[in-house]
Amino acid sequence: MSSAARDLELDLDAFEGPFDLLLTLVLKEQLEPAEIDMAAIVVAFVQHLAERDEIDLDACGEFLVLISALLELKARQLFPEEGAELAELEPEEAAEELARRLAEYRRMKEAAVWLRERLAAERDRYFRLGPAPLAPRAERRLAPQEPALLATALAGLATPPPKVSLSHMALRFPPVGQFLERFRAVLRRRRVFDFDGEVASLPRIEQAVAFLALLELRKNGEVALAQAAPFGPIRVARTERERMNAWTVRSA
């Protein structure tokens, strides 16, 4: 597999170094996904692509799989209690919720711009921050307190948070080769198959790897891909001549 994605050099607030080291640290739980600015990684990767003459589909596919996995990890860490809630939403409701959040963040970003401008405008306003040098000292007196308040406060700190299971998040990537063989086997039996139907029963992460395998086959010229509409089913058809070549090379 191409190493273009994994070799990507990153310079983030929380991490500096190659992408594969970042992945290693995250998987070893030495780096919190929540601390990582994912958008900065995507920007770095796109810049990296732009510097090259041709698009490396392998690298793109690998990158998509890895960044999606990271995003899911991060999302679960940031919103542990929301997984179930969001899963129950209809697509329209989910879109509505997402739009609401994006709009909210955009408003906060603009509010931050406003605050920055305000700060610049107030630059020459100086005021005293502490008490005046010759001010009398204020004495704060506290009414008698119930010791039970302390016990309640401590009991609150000893209350465990609701448990969130992350067991299904163990990142196990099946090798791309496994899907290459599987698709080739299908194509030996049938000239055309439906990608979505073929991978429907697989977990998300395996579907992503399967998609990567599909791109690999397409790159080799072993298959032709067709999709009637965005998000529509992907039809995979074998390309006779290329398949024969591949067959010959492989059997030699």
Partner: protein, 205 residues
């Protein structure tokens, strides 16, 4: 209630000339470590808020830009003295502004969220910004711009935060109501919503 109050205030006027009240207000403002509201001033001076307002007018006149190095300012729901703008350069030579120096983009966004939505917890801030907020919030607490304000729901809940009076002073706000209305920020949420709905529909079909 109008009548008796007026009577008392007539007597007080006879007792303390308004100019003396103005001087007392000057004294209070020069030793106070926070902006003082009209009510706080009235309690300390032991006079009526109306007379305090009148005396504040005198103080404002005496301590205006160009006339005095000390300027009366309405900020954070009260009144405070600050340095005149003409002295900003001299102030900059002597005083650091550690509170506001190097407020990062992350810090400003977090401040905006706490100012508009506070009291608000770190998980909520993280949900909006998409990045964990722990270190940013800790730094803002350290600078005194943000402070704890109880916990969500109670036992085991996350700590919530609000902005402090210092925040209002640093940004020269009389109240948080002076922040721009949220509805006026952020442009076209409808456009984002439509785009997402289109995606959702294509997927559902």
């Amino acid at each position: 209630m109008d009548r008796p109050l007026r009577l008392i205030s007539a007597e007080t006027i006879a007792g303390t000339p308004i100019d003396a009240v103005a001087r007392t207000i000057e004294a209070l403002l020069v030793v106070a470590s926070q902006p003082l509201s009209v009510e706080e001033l009235a309690t300390a001076v032991d006079d009526e808020t109306e007379r305090i307002e009148t005396a504040l007018g005198l103080v404002r006149e005496r301590h205006a830009e160009g006339r005095s190095g000390i300027v009366l300012e309405r900020v954070a729901g009260g009144y405070a003295f600050r340095a005149a703008r003409e002295a900003a350069e001299a102030c900059a030579r002597l005083f650091e502004r550690p509170v506001e120096r190097g407020l990062s983009q992350a810090a400003l966004e977090t401040l905006a969220i706490v100012a508009y939505l506070g009291p608000v917890s770190r998980p909520e801030i993280a949900r909006i910004r998409g990045v964990a907020a722990d270190s940013t919030v800790a730094a803002l607490v350290e600078r005194g711009l943000v402070a704890e304000a109880g916990r969500e729901n109670a036992p085991g809940g996350a700590v919530r935060y609000r902005v402090t009076p210092l925040f209002e002073r640093v940004f020269g706000l009389d109240t948080l109501a002076e922040l721009p209305r949220l509805d006026d920020l952020g442009g076209e949420p409808d456009a984002i919503r439509e785009r997402l709905l289109a995606v959702a529909e294509a997927r559902a079909s």
